[in-house]
């Protein structure tokens, strides 16, 4: 059987050569993403900002999917449904209109009631009320702090273990990935709910993994080919890991793709965020974080000194190039 190979053997793509363009594009997109987030804001879900709770009683058991699509066509925002007590009762949560106060809330209830009665004759709204968000401000702050510190923690780890350049480039790339995801939510105005936070965390996690793999190969090659020019070395490392990068991304996109197509309405935003994050994360690993090492002035000598001082596994790597500490890249 012939096995599938997505990337041909021994590719030699010049990733580093286009780094100026890549940096410019990345900077532009990041500014756009931040601008969009600042300007349009995130469409925060009922989880965060609270909203309207309607308890609907149906004459017989209903499928929540039908109720969801009925409400979805009204343009009153993303609804969240929960079977309540018995199969005939459904609790509907809707976002509150930003302006208009109590009058606007009543208008939303009336609009919903009208559409629902048309679709499901005999339905009654046994009560409606406003609800607060599921999470308090303190929880959100702690969550954001946790994520920021986690990214910083990784950067510091990379710095202490290797070179500060690795720490900085990883940090920059991951922050970029998160900002792009936020920008995506700001531009599409997809609802940003609690679960999206999990998606963002997953993106961070995936991105970390991706960067570590390429960084590790760069370090390995720095020990192997001490005379090699840094640009060529980074190109070599990215090319060598390219089959793996593509394989892994495709595998995950395959899994996410089926969730996006078949996973139903609720998972859509969640999956879309993850897919975008994986693509952005892979892009930033290949084009941004590794090329950034050059701009930050990483050279084989820096790693040489550190390895000699620590006497770690550098010695076990196979030596291809002749040793010459005085060589300038």
């Amino acid at each position: 059987m012939k096995l599938l190979k997505l990337v041909p053997d021994n590719t030699n793509i010049g990733f580093v050569a286009v780094r100026k363009w890549a940096f410019a594009l990345t900077a532009l997109l990041t500014v756009l993403a931040v601008g969009a987030t600042a300007h349009k804001g995130l469409n925060l879900g009922v989880d965060f900002v609270g909203g309207l709770m309607i308890e609907a009683k149906f004459p017989q058991a209903v499928e929540t999917d039908k109720v969801r699509s009925t409400i979805g066509s009204l343009g009153v925002g993303e609804s969240s449904l929960q079977q309540f007590g018995d199969p005939k009762t459904v609790q509907i949560r809707l976002p509150l209109p930003e302006q208009g106060g109590a009058g606007a809330a009543n208008a939303v209830v009336e609009k919903t009631r009208k559409a629902m009665t048309a679709q499901f004759p005999g339905v009654t709204f046994s009560r409606y009320d406003t609800v607060s968000g599921k999470v308090s401000g303190e929880l959100i702050q702690n969550g954001v702090l946790a994520v920021v510190l986690a990214i910083l923690g990784i950067a510091v780890f990379s710095w202490f273990r290797y070179e500060w350049q690795f720490g900085v480039s990883t940090f920059v790339a991951i922050v970029h990935d998160v900002l792009m995801t936020l920008g995506f939510f700001a531009i599409t105005q997809l609802e940003f709910d609690l679960n999206i936070i999990a998606a963002v965390l997953t993106i961070v996690g995936y991105s970390i993994n991706d960067k570590m793999v390429i960084d590790d190969r760069i370090r390995e090659n720095m020990r192997k080919y001490r005379k090699m020019d840094m640009k060529a070395l980074i190109d070599l490392s990215v090319n060598e890991t390219l089959p793996r990068t593509v394989m892994t991304s495709v595998t995950i996109l395959l899994a996410l793709g089926s969730l996006l197509l078949l996973g139903g309405h609720v998972l859509r935003g969640f999956t879309a965020a993850m897919m975008l994050g994986i693509i952005v994360g892979t892009y930033s690993s290949v084009y941004v974080s590794s090329s950034l090492l050059i701009s930050l002035g990483l050279s084989p000598q820096t790693s040489e000194k550190k390895a000699a001082k620590k006497g770690d596994y550098a010695g076990t790597a196979e030596r291809v190039g002749p040793r010459d500490d005085g060589a300038k890249p």
Partner: protein
């Protein structure tokens, strides 16, 4: 490198087998699991969003808040006028119809009294709106009436505090991932996953947990106390367990120490093996408790919870260590509940359960069904893709991932963790990195083969070099997960728990376990070329 001793193989297979066994109860129906011995009931609990749970609607009485505010006001007015300088004598204090009125004994001091009270009635906001109106009637009686806006803002802040206290209490109970929301002006919705014992939850949330220590008024006339009359400066409180048989007792109004001065409360046992609650005061509370007990040796004091006396022990000696015991016919469970309630602070207002229901999954049953189908398709697609890319080795990786999923479920079952949608995201990520680990190894083997190494050397090298990368990546991952676990809450925490478990198990299955299988295959067939 490719030789594993029997012992090594046993040491690798055994924990995996245990993990897989622990995952099995999660797939069995409830009734079957209930018949298993206790240590076998290692099930993963599904969160509210995935399986629904119990729903409680709690209501605070607005009148209660208003009444309490009036009582506080009365206290403040007393202190201000009687203790301040110059003293203003007042009398006929009454709080009826939601108003506080009192008489200033010296008519010439009425204006001064109004002046002194005003600052107390100011709202906390900058709008300058008043929380209370002050007026003088009949030239010597001052009437303080709470404004509607004042009551509203008091209720609002009481509800905010109450929501936080409830959140703490439920967390302390060990229930993971509850939903706690304020609904309307004076209601709180609590939803907890699973259907187990909503009574314990109701009991816990129904307690205000206002704890006070007061001295017993031993000078009171027992027959008057029995009729509900107490001497000046004392009050009559219900005391169901009173050894004298009268279900009431007179205690001094002044509070020795209150629940606010607690730093910790735990359930314990006394000498006669009765359940009690051990409490520890902060330094100020400890000092005051020591002082009062030193001055009142051989007199009884009352331990009062939510306005009811639990017990009234004698002070045998000064209690100086800053800790004390609360006794009073507890069961282990009720003592534990009180300890939790005390640790998480008192509710600013009493809450009553007005509604109790079972609710369906927060994500909607339809979405979950769709999600399940999609997950199955995703798994099949990934497995097929691994197979067409790496052949035999792809199947090894698939086997490793399958075992990994079961082991993660098993470990979560052992820890009693709750699986929610964010948890599933963590799951997807760990499975992704587990697949990635195998991809790394196999790509490395391909690379080493291209460089001309023979099969055994290429496999050895592939595992060795890739393991280092995988290790690095997972250590960084674990750092991130650890920080999220320590600092995050709610979804961030749920995600981090699964991630950390997954990191540990996936390195083991994706690297060590596949290596055993591959080594075994190589030893048996001695291939000269491999298809990878």
């Amino acid at each position: 490198m490719l030789n594993f001793s029997r012992w090594a193989i046993a040491a690798i297979i055994l924990p995996l087998a245990i993990g897989v066994l622990c995952a099995i109860p999660s797939f069995l129906p409830d009734a079957t699991v209930a018949q298993l011995p206790r240590f076998m009931q290692t099930r993963v609990n599904l969160g509210l969003d995935l399986s629904g749970g119990s729903h409680l609607l709690l209501e605070a009485s607005t009148q209660d808040v208003a009444k309490q505010r009036l009582t506080n006001m009365e206290e403040q007015v007393r202190t201000e006028l009687r203790r301040g300088d110059p003293k203003i004598a007042i009398g006929d204090i009454s709080s009826r119809d939601g108003k506080l009125s009192f008489m200033v004994r010296e008519p010439s001091q009425v204006d001064a009294a109004v002046e002194r009270i005003r600052p107390l009635t100011q709202g906390a906001g900058l709008t300058g709106q008043r929380d209370f109106n002050v007026e003088v009637v009949n030239s010597s009686t001052i009437v303080i009436t709470p404004t509607d806006a004042g009551i509203k803002s008091a209720v609002k802040s009481a509800m905010e505090v109450a929501t936080e206290v409830i959140r703490k209490r439920i967390d302390e109970m060990g229930t993971r991932e509850p939903t706690i929301q304020q609904q309307g002006d004076n209601r709180i919705v609590v939803q907890v996953p699973g259907l187990q014992n909503p009574k314990a939850l109701k009991d816990l949330l129904g307690q205000t947990a206002k704890l006070e220590f007061k001295l017993v008024d031993t000078t009171a006339n027992p027959s008057e106390v029995a009729q509900g009359r107490a001497p000046v400066g004392s009050e009559v409180l219900p005391y169901a367990a009173n050894p004298s048989g009268v279900p009431v007792i007179a205690v001094k109004r002044q509070v020795m120490v209150s629940g606010e001065d607690l730093t910790d409360a735990t359930q314990g046992y006394d000498q006669s093996n009765q359940a009690i609650v051990n409490i520890r005061f902060n330094s100020a509370g400890g000092r005051r408790f020591g002082q009062v007990t030193s001055q009142n040796v051989n007199r009884p004091f009352a331990i009062i919870l939510d306005g009811k006396v639990l017990s009234a022990p004698n002070i045998n000696e000064p209690i100086l260590g800053g800790s004390a015991q609360i006794s009073g016919s507890f069961t282990v469970e009720s003592a534990n509940q009180l300890a939790i309630a005390l640790r998480s602070g008192k509710l600013p207002v009493a809450l009553t359960v007005v509604e109790e229901r079972t609710v369906g999954p927060g994500l909607g049953a339809d979405s979950i069904r769709a999600g399940l189908i999609a997950s199955v398709v995703a798994v099949v697609a990934v497995a097929a893709f691994m197979f067409v890319s790496y052949g035999r080795f792809g199947m090894y990786a698939n086997l490793a991932v399958a075992i990994n999923v079961l082991v993660i479920l098993g470990v979560m079952g052992i820890l009693g963790a709750t699986l929610t949608l964010p948890g599933i995201a963590g799951f997807v990520l760990t499975i992704g990195t587990a697949v990635d680990a195998n991809v790394l190894i196999y790509e490395r083997i391909r690379e080493e083969r291209r460089r001309g190494r023979n099969v055994v050397a290429a496999i050895e090298h592939g595992y060795k070099e890739a393991s280092r990368t995988i290790f690095e990546a997972n250590v960084t991952h674990a750092i991130a997960g650890g920080i999220m676990l320590a600092l995050g809450s709610g979804p961030v925490k749920g995600f981090a728990i699964v991630l950390l478990i997954g990191i540990a198990t996936s390195v083991f299955t994706a690297v060590t376990f596949t290596r055993v299988i591959v080594a075994n295959w190589v030893r048996r067939t001695r291939p000269t070329d491999i298809h990878i």
